[in-house]
Structure formats: structure tokens, C-alpha cells
Subunit: 140 residues, 4 copies
Amino acid sequence: MHILEIMKSHPGSSTEAAIPLVQGIEACFDCAQATVACADACLAEADPTPLARCIRINGECADIAHATGRLLSRRLPSNPLIWERQLEACAVVTRMCAEECEKHAKAHAHCRVCAEACRKCEAACNALLSAYRPTADTVV
Amino acid sequence: MHILEIMKSHPGSSTEAAIPLVQGIEACFDCAQATVACADACLAEADPTPLARCIRINGECADIAHATGRLLSRRLPSNPLIWERQLEACAVVTRMCAEECEKHAKAHAHCRVCAEACRKCEAACNALLSAYRPTADTVV
Amino acid sequence: MHILEIMKSHPGSSTEAAIPLVQGIEACFDCAQATVACADACLAEADPTPLARCIRINGECADIAHATGRLLSRRLPSNPLIWERQLEACAVVTRMCAEECEKHAKAHAHCRVCAEACRKCEAACNALLSAYRPTADTVV
Amino acid sequence: MHILEIMKSHPGSSTEAAIPLVQGIEACFDCAQATVACADACLAEADPTPLARCIRINGECADIAHATGRLLSRRLPSNPLIWERQLEACAVVTRMCAEECEKHAKAHAHCRVCAEACRKCEAACNALLSAYRPTADTVV
């Protein structure tokens, strides 16, 4: 991906916090892709019934991770609260999707790998929340 | 839109809280459309420079509202916290996008109408948050 | 939805072809919502296995219809070919998704209603293709 | 990204054509991210007016590339025509977005890098079109 190269030439850019942000963007797009692919693989299993909950949460996770990846791809939020709230949503859904996929990790490699992508995204969101969470001064 | 008709035939459906949910879904998709259209109209103005912040927050709002509309279109969340967090994100960004668009409402009808769509979505998200916010028992 | 109101205040707007465009945008967002809801209802059926193909094509249709709805929400394409190609993709996937959903229409009302939303979107895309298809002069 | 790992464990998977597909998926998500980031950087320039067309086509390209990346992330299309039509749309918009960004490549590094991401995606889509284009036998 070309994340850092474009970020460096953004007029409002600075080197501050760039690496966690790049990692967050990459993790969000990776997770958005992995969850679509995992849901499709679950659906193609001979009996998808026991994977219905996994397919559903994969869909929820893909929607939220993609929206979060797009938000972070704009160099700065219009307001820090927007990133904070969306990162919180993404941290929750990636954790829960990982927990569900981990239940099927032994039976299905796609669930094991998808859980890894979700955990990486969860960690990246939490790292950004620590870095970007608005202080009392910036909350509007 | 065909929201209620499909919802009524969902195997896990019940009449409970269906109307606020339908209104929330419709408001999210409406807001997602309006913000894309408003951003494009802003960009087509003779001088888009004073509207740069409006274009950016319209983009953020479109991403979050669409993800939220897709989430709500699945009849029940995998976990109530997922909806809660995403509805909080959507309530924040629609409020802030409305505030920005309202600044340009006199000069640009597209901003005035977009602000209305955002406010309606904000109200629908807050109504759903009141109805769906997990109690202490359901928080995991 | 607020489609026409925003479109009328777009700086590059004209009344020409506005109604088919509004209908196209509305049909795309409606179809994007209906297919997500139908896939979720299919997945919640006691045995989703015979609906696996329906769930998959609903997902494909939702992705394409939403992208098409966002494209059309920008008042004019950067180049007519972009709309033409995307409308062709949307006309194909909505037709095929409708065909699949119609197979299950008697058993599942959500499939019947979703097929209606897909057919309406297919018709709207084809109407726009007739109106907007670039002539030999505008093809680049 | 975890594309290949998940693809290898898909029940319907085969090694045939896996590498072009992985490259296509990666190029689509990369392009979807790059165009959002480039549009935001354009918008943050002191005078975004000369970049208005670039911002608009970046938005169109992001929508189409993301939808295409999600389609390809499902291991097989419901029908080859769906992929064919969407890949054609993606090949067109990435070419046109690259052409526009290349005009600004000397002045803005974000446009130069974004054009690279678009060109890579265009090439990947065309490679997949050559591999997947349905023959007369498979056209429905």
C-alpha cells in the first residue's frame, strides 16, 4: 500500500504519530478484506449453519473497519471526537469478531487467519485511541 | 425503500422496536446519500476553498452513516455493544456535519438540505441508542 | 430521501434528465439496503444452506448498487464512460440477484421483496444507460 | 494483508489463477485507500480549486475500487459476467483517475503516488479481465 508516501505529502502533515496512523489504516483495510473473504469461505462450507454467527459478525466487522480505514485516510479528523467514537466502534467489533473466529480456528484456517487480522486491527485502533483520544481541552 | 417489508419476514423478527429501527435505517441511507451529494455540490462552487471543511466532514459523515445503515439492516446485532458504539459514532458525526452545513445554509441550499438530513439521522441514532443501549446485564 | 432538493441547488445542475437520475439514485440505495437485509434474513433461516448462493449474490449486489448510488449522487460523472461502465455492472448484478431471489420468493417474503428492489434498480440503471450512454463523439 | 492465506483455505479454492486474483484484490484496496487520501490532501492545499476535478474523480475511483475489491474477495463470482462488468468499470475509472492525477504529479507528490496506485489497479483489473472474461459458453 502507498499509505505513508501519500501521507508525507499532505499539506497538513507532520511526522508526529504518523507510524501508528499508517499501521491503523493498513490494519483496517486488511481487516475489511479478511472479513469479507472469511464470510465467503464460511458460506461455502458444506454446512454453513454453525458458522451463521461468524458470517454475520464478519459482515459487521467489514463495514466498520472499512469506514474506519477511510476516516483515518483523511490526514486529520474534522474533530477528534469523530475518530475517537469510530475507533471505539472498530475496537469493539474487531475484538468480538476475533473471539467468534477463534472458536472456529482449529476447524477452518480462514477463521484462524481472519481472527489474526481482526486482532491486529483491534490493537491498532487501541493504540490510536491512546494517541488521539481528545483531552478535556479539545472535547467540544 | 422496502425496509419494513423485509424486516417483517426476518425469521428472528418481532414487532418490538421495529419502527424506530426502520426510521434509523432510512435516515442513515438518506444521510449517506445527502452528504455525498452536498460534498459534490460544494466542490462545484466557483470557489470551494471556504467549503473545504464542509466537504471533508461530509465525507466522514457519509462513511459512518453508510456503515451504520448496513449494520442496522441486519435485524439484530451480534452483540448490542456493536450497535451502541457505532450509533454513538454516527450521532456525533451527524451532529458535527449538521453544525458545519448550517453555517453555509443561507448561501447554499444544498448545505441547508444536507443539514436537515444529518439532523434527522442524529435524532434517529439517539432514539435507537435510548432503545437499544445495553443494560448492565448485557454488557460483555 | 432529499435527493432532488440537493440536486436542484448543485451549481452545475440543470433540469435535464433530473427525474431519471433521482429515481436511479433512490433505487440504488434501496437495493443496497434490501440486499443486506435479505442476506441477513436468509442467514437467519433454520437451514441457510439452500440459500448460500442467494446470500452471496445479495452481497455482490449490495456492493455494486451502493457504489453506483454514490457515483450518481455526484451530479455529473468526470467522464460519461465511468457512469456507463458502472451502470452496466449494476444492471447485470441486479438482474441476476433478482433472478436468484425470485427462486425463493414463494418460500421467503424477504426474497420476494428484495427481488422487487433489484428489478426496480435494474430498470432504473437501464433507463439511465439509455439516457446517458455516451455517443461516439464523447467516447474517449 | 492476509489475502492469499484466507484464499487457500476457501472450500471452493484451487491454485488456478490465485496469484492474479490476490494481486487484483490488493491493488483494489490500495487504490481505494490512496484515492481517499489523495482527495483529502488535494482539499487541504491552499487553493483546491484547480484540483476540484481531481478530488471528484478520486471519489469515483475510491467507490468503484472498493466495491471491486470486495467482489474479488469472494472466491468465485456468482456469475462470471458480474466480475467482468465490474472489472471493466474499475479498469476505466482507474485509468482516468491516473490520467488526471498525472497532470498534477509534478506539483503534488500525493497525486504522483496516487496515480501509481491507480495504474497498478488498472493493470491488475485488465490482467483479471484477460483471465476471467467469460467465453461464449459461459455467458448467460
